[in-house]
């Protein structure tokens, strides 16, 4: 019940600060672009759009969300409440995964790559959780928002460059060890879905664990409270 309330609160926060409006506008723009493209390009471009935007939104926004909650003393209230660190982190992951998955499903439908909606949806949920966790880890290390943006830039390169290479160049199975490539494989319904799922799941679990650990350490520095 407490966890559901946290997720609901986070979704309300995202709605209030324009995430849904923003992605509504972006979905319309992306759909317009997809409609203008030749049929044979649509699938690739849709995968690229899904991968680079809705799936990675947590990595982009997490720094601002954490800074805001710190400045508004929301975090100070949370750490003295019965809410556990893992509940706080999982609520953030789930709430951002909702918007990621909705946008990704819409784009996939228009791009004609939604062969297995359940599998596609799950892949986006895991991918979103992975990138949001990474964003949370970086946000706990950054002192300012500009610093957070700076930290995310090399991570984005490390994630997107091999994934782009996998999508347009070499799709050897060894690349599926990389989380971005395994996400691309799942979105494209490739030949190595099982291995890609396993790889993505392991990466996600690792980063969720890291996010919980780093958030616990971060909380312990706030107002002298113990998490």
């Amino acid at each position: 019940m407490r966890f559901v309330a946290l997720v609901r609160g986070d979704i309300r926060f995202q709605f209030k600060y324009g995430f849904y409006l923003l992605y509504g506008i972006f979905v319309l723009m992306y759909i317009a672009i997809l409609q203008l493209l030749p049929e044979e390009w649509k699938g690739y471009v849709a995968v690229l759009m899904v991968f680079s935007d809705p799936t990675m939104l947590g990595l982009f926004f997490m720094g601002a969300i954490l800074q805001f909650e710190k400045e508004e003393h929301t975090l100070h209230s949370i750490i003295v409440s019965p809410v556990k660190v893992q509940e706080y982190v999982l609520a953030k992951l789930c709430s951002l995964a909702v918007i990621s998955t909705l946008v990704a499903l819409l784009l996939a439908k228009v791009g004609g790559i939604l062969d297995h909606p359940m599998r596609f949806g799950l892949a986006i949920v895991f991918g979103s959780c992975l990138f949001t966790s990474l964003g949370l880890v970086l946000a706990t290390k950054a002192h300012t928002l500009n610093q957070f943006l700076l930290y995310t830039a090399p991570c984005e390169l490390l994630i997107t460059v091999p994934a782009g290479f996998y999508l347009f160049g070499n799709s050897a199975p060894i690349f599926l060890m990389h989380p971005g490539c395994s996400l691309i494989e799942l979105c494209m319904s490739g030949d190595h879905v099982l291995f890609a799922s396993l790889s993505l799941l392991l990466w996600t679990l690792l980063f969720v664990w890291l996010a919980i650990r780093e958030t616990r350490t971060y909380f312990s520095t706030l107002g002298g409270a113990k998490a």
Partner: protein
Amino acid sequence: MRAIFISFTMLLRQIRNDGMLVAVSLASVLAGFFFRFAVPALERILCSSLVVDAVLEPYYRLFDLLLILLAPYMLCFAAAMVMLDEHEQGLTRYLSVTPLQTRGYLISRLGLPAGFSALASMLLIGFFRLTPWNGFILAGTSMLSSLCGFSVSLFLFSCSRNKVEGMAMGKLSGLLMIGLPVPFFLHSSWQYLFSLFPSYWLARYALQGSVAWFLTSLATSSAGMFILYRRVVRKLV
């Protein structure tokens, strides 16, 4: 004037401490290297594999324009984020009653970064251009791109109540640049759907060099800035 420069130095120190100043410079230079060396190499590979004369070459001017816009956009984005931070801390009201005043504060936070970024754009194009540039058109294009950056920072600051909204608006502000590729890809009269965007007229000016397009871009930028400036001042005082 002295107060404005001191305030501008404060801004530079702040974004230098974040590492953002180094990042903006580094990102611009890296992008310059990429456009100058990787794009022609990619063009050669594409031409030989697709057996055609040109794939990317007709769009080299667009790559130059992207490079020109990069420094103003990034620097003005960083400056707007600093302003949002200062506004959240209540600093902006204090600064507006010092000798700096509201106008000086805005010049130091938004005007000077935009002005310097125009110079940076010209320097970058000097080193990394893919197409030949007439000095007069380059100066005009850099000036217009700095005005685009200035508009973005006004938009970010005036439309965001905090940094979370600032990030959302930052993402949305990318749409203000949507006019840039339009003259390259859309040749029918549908392109005039984008005529309200200064970036559209900027791209046409860079392509055709007509003073009329320069003035139209200046007029659309000024109209947007006039509306946003009033909102920013209302927010500051």
